[in-house]
Symmetry: D2
Subunit: 153 residues, 4 copies
């Protein structure tokens, strides 16, 4: 399950708060952008899941904040698939500052599969297989710059 995918983002002015740094809720949105990027890199874009009438509803999210991101920073959201079961998928995240690679935050999200009425359901097998195959492919291609470095989430 070691298949990191990086996404680079520029901090938006609107994401800062009166403390002069990025508001903590912005990271939750960045994590989501990270897992969308992970799924696209894995060959199973979230749009395909949605078009099939399914969603990965969030049941748990958490973030640990280590250092502040600031306006003017570019950040890298690195996403890993952390768990994949018939009814559940988890992702882990690191947010690093581009440049010095300082670790700003780590995170975790847990998801269940729901249908368009919001009812819990099994992840369709073609989605499950696609995610698994994508994760395996990403783990093999392993960009050394993104190897999990032990201080992570």
């Amino acid at each position: 399950m070691d298949a990191p995918v990086p996404l680079e983002l520029a901090v938006r002015f609107a994401e800062t708060d009166l403390m002069g740094v990025v508001h903590h809720s912005a990271y939750i949105v960045w994590f989501e952008a990270g897992r969308v990027a992970w799924m696209e890199a894995a060959g199973m874009p979230y749009t395909r899941v949605a078009e099939s009438g399914h969603h990965f509803a969030v049941t748990h999210v958490e973030a640990q904040y280590r250092a502040a991101a600031r306006f003017g920073d570019r950040v890298q959201v690195i996403t890993w698939l952390a768990l994949l079961r018939s009814r559940r998928v988890d992702f882990r995240y690191q947010v690093r500052r581009v440049g010095d690679q300082a670790l700003l935050a780590t995170g975790l999200s847990q998801h269940i599969c729901v249908d368009l009425q919001g009812r819990m359901t099994r992840i369709p097998s073609w989605i499950l297989d696609g995610l698994q195959a994508g994760a395996a492919r990403l783990a093999q291609s392993g960009d050394p710059a993104l190897v999990y470095q032990g201080d992570g989430p």
Copy 2:
């Protein structure tokens, strides 16, 4: 069409930016909360419009900013129905600081009626009539504190 409805909101910390004041995009969200409050006060809550398979899609929005709102402030979003046609509805807004009633911003939004596929359509007559009747009732009941004071949007 002179039927102001006030909505009082507490500024959220997350709505501030690194300038130490409320970010200008927050007012656009407040305007929306204001017109939702207007429709509820008029007896035609937006949830009824949505449940009937219609939406009031925004075609134009604008805001003029006169003074900053700050964390700790309570603000009053005052909303007027500005125009009502078979295919269009406009709202006007004032944002005032609670306490000294200082005018912080004014605004305008224009809307067309769309169906669930996003196609432009006439506003169903029961919605049109409901809005008209609600506006008339609100104009009559006219809270003097909310009379349009000439310096407005």
Copy 3:
């Protein structure tokens, strides 16, 4: 430390996403509004902390999602002071739907005290004492509607 403070909010249209329900990041902003309300109820409003040149920086936040909030719902964010140390303060949260009191989400946030340069510092004693005294007062006055019901955060 059993001193719940409720804050009632109307779901904003802007807080929904294409799944038709409130986006999970909105709850993180609601938790913040909840702790701001707690501090005000405790007689130690966050504006006083900020004016003294201090902030309670978020080091950890988490949320568990049990049921969806929808546009048209009013929700109650109930906040408890969970931990208070010389350098740390934690809050716990429940989000309930107004009406049937259904539990929609629970959460936790952890904070350190920082100065205006973002350096970690002790919580000034007058703030610490104020929070403690406020929590005690709130615990005594205990609104029965808000007694912690065991299924909580």
Copy 4:
């Protein structure tokens, strides 16, 4: 003053609403990201303005919405410097869907220069000159793909 700068963004899931499309307030945030990109391309990044103790406070913003952006879309925010005076700077915007270049929205923002206390002030001459020189350079280098096409803001 014809110096368009494009910024490409992926629509975020969090930017959608229950109508299934991007919420109109997200475009206001995209415009801001667009003018930050314009200033960086012009060699006068906003971080330099802020570090000098100045801000370009928004006094007016408006947007016209023509077609919806959806999750899965990539959009291009194209920004022009529209006006530059000793005390004022305006920007114009187009949002286009990447792929078919469909025009989704146009917009305008007006700004005054303020100091750290929020008092209106002249734009410092080194900033004014830098913006002017950057605009001239951008207008010359003119990427044909971005020539203003007459249907714009």
